[in-house]
Symmetry: C2
Subunit: 214 residues, 2 copies
DNA sequence: CAGGACTGGAACGGATCGTTCCGCTCTGCT
DNA sequence: AGCAGAGCGGAACGATCCGTTCCAGTCCTG
């Protein structure tokens, strides 16, 4: 086997790895119940190329979802690290939110959840994400930059609301999402606001999503 | 035929009319692609009872959607009338938003759109709704109670974001929706806010929804 | 008491989709 | 040079699902 600069068939195969993942991400974000054939078509490969890499549709979905989760955890860790390093809380929070929205991690996690049996790695990282969210929200309250009734569980719901904006074009969708993220942030950055009505989601309500639909 | 207090079979049939519509609304709001049999089951009737009333699934969906649209138009007319009568703009707007969210008209319209061929009545009322929205937003700007960059087309998108909150229980969902509606309103009631990034949806982007999926 | 309105639900036919399988190509090693 | 097999495209298969039709039974109503 030659070293890094792969050639011929092997190179093509290696390239297909990422082409397939990209296509799958795009297709399943647009429609979580899309057929496998749609992914193959979008990737410009045959169905075999998919089944050579993933033993079943479910495993492909699990992989995509895990990727999204890991990305979210990474962004959350960055935000917490920045805060620990003394960065401006409001600015750090805003940057974090924009990054998460742009990366569209929630289309990959919440919307794909329930389509596969979660692995231990999913669970571990979901818990980790929860912890990071908790630290983040606590820091924001300590700095008094957000409304006092913002709770940990609100974060997920906010991202989900934004992910519900699904207009055709990729770029257009990003524009719109930033617009309404801006509106939500305008509501959040009010340390002296009167409390919102009703409680936020409970932890269990979110966890339910992960149970595979029967 | 006897007069109002129907008896026996006829009464049962009349009652079934509304039982079926209620069941259909509930089922299709929860899952717009639910099978007809699910509606029959939820309503506690057989499939025949459905097909006796609607010649096809599509017509049932069209009916539900039209009902939602009419309800929305009614609420929008009320709001405009209140403003014309000199009611407090902010309060009227808030009441309008809460009513629309509680009635969940957007699960009936936007989410069901595309599942049937729209009739002329759908089109007419959709246009009417747009006009009412326009007047409403203009009044709010004239009274300077909302952020200046709030546009007509934002309204629909906001409702859709809220409709994306879909936790199990009916009551629970209502609670959560009010919570996040409150947050959005906190962002809206800022006459001196700096403008949001990016343009709102174009009219055409919304209209696309109504085209029946091939 | 007979006709028929109304109904429940089985049965049908078409569509969809995950997965398997076969035959082909072209590579990388001997 | 030649061959074993990795990698692939896509047809075919089998299962499932679902809208609609149909029939046999019930029970008003005239």
């Amino acid at each position: 086997m030659t070293t890094l600069p792969l050639s011929g068939r092997r190179a093509q195969a290696a390239r297909n790895d990422s082409v397939i993942l990209d296509a799958a991400r795009e297709v399943f974000i647009a429609d979580p119940s899309a057929p496998i054939a749609a992914v193959a078509h979008k990737a410009g490969v045959g169905i075999s190329a998919l089944y050579r890499r993933y033993p079943s549709k479910e495993e492909l979905l699990a992989k995509l979802c895990l990727d999204g989760l890991l990305l979210y955890v990474e962004l959350a860790e960055e935000a917490n690290a920045a805060l620990d390093a003394g960065a401006d809380p409001a600015e750090t929070f805003e940057t974090f939110m924009v990054r998460v929205v742009d990366a569209d991690t929630h289309s990959l996690t919440q919307k794909l959840a329930g389509t596969f049996e979660p692995t231990e790695e999913h669970t571990t990282n979901a818990i980790r994400a929860g912890e990071l969210n908790k630290r983040l929200v606590e820091s924001l309250h300590a700095a008094r930059v957000v409304r006092p009734d913002l709770e940990l569980a609100d974060l997920g719901q906010l991202f989900e609301m934004i992910a519900a904006i699904r207009f055709g074009d990729d770029e257009r969708r990003g524009q719109l999402r930033r617009r309404y993220l801006g509106l939500l942030m305008a509501g959040l950055f009010q340390p002296d606001a009167t409390p919102l009505p009703g409680p936020p989601p409970y932890a269990g309500e979110f966890a339910n999503r992960w149970a595979k639909a029967t």
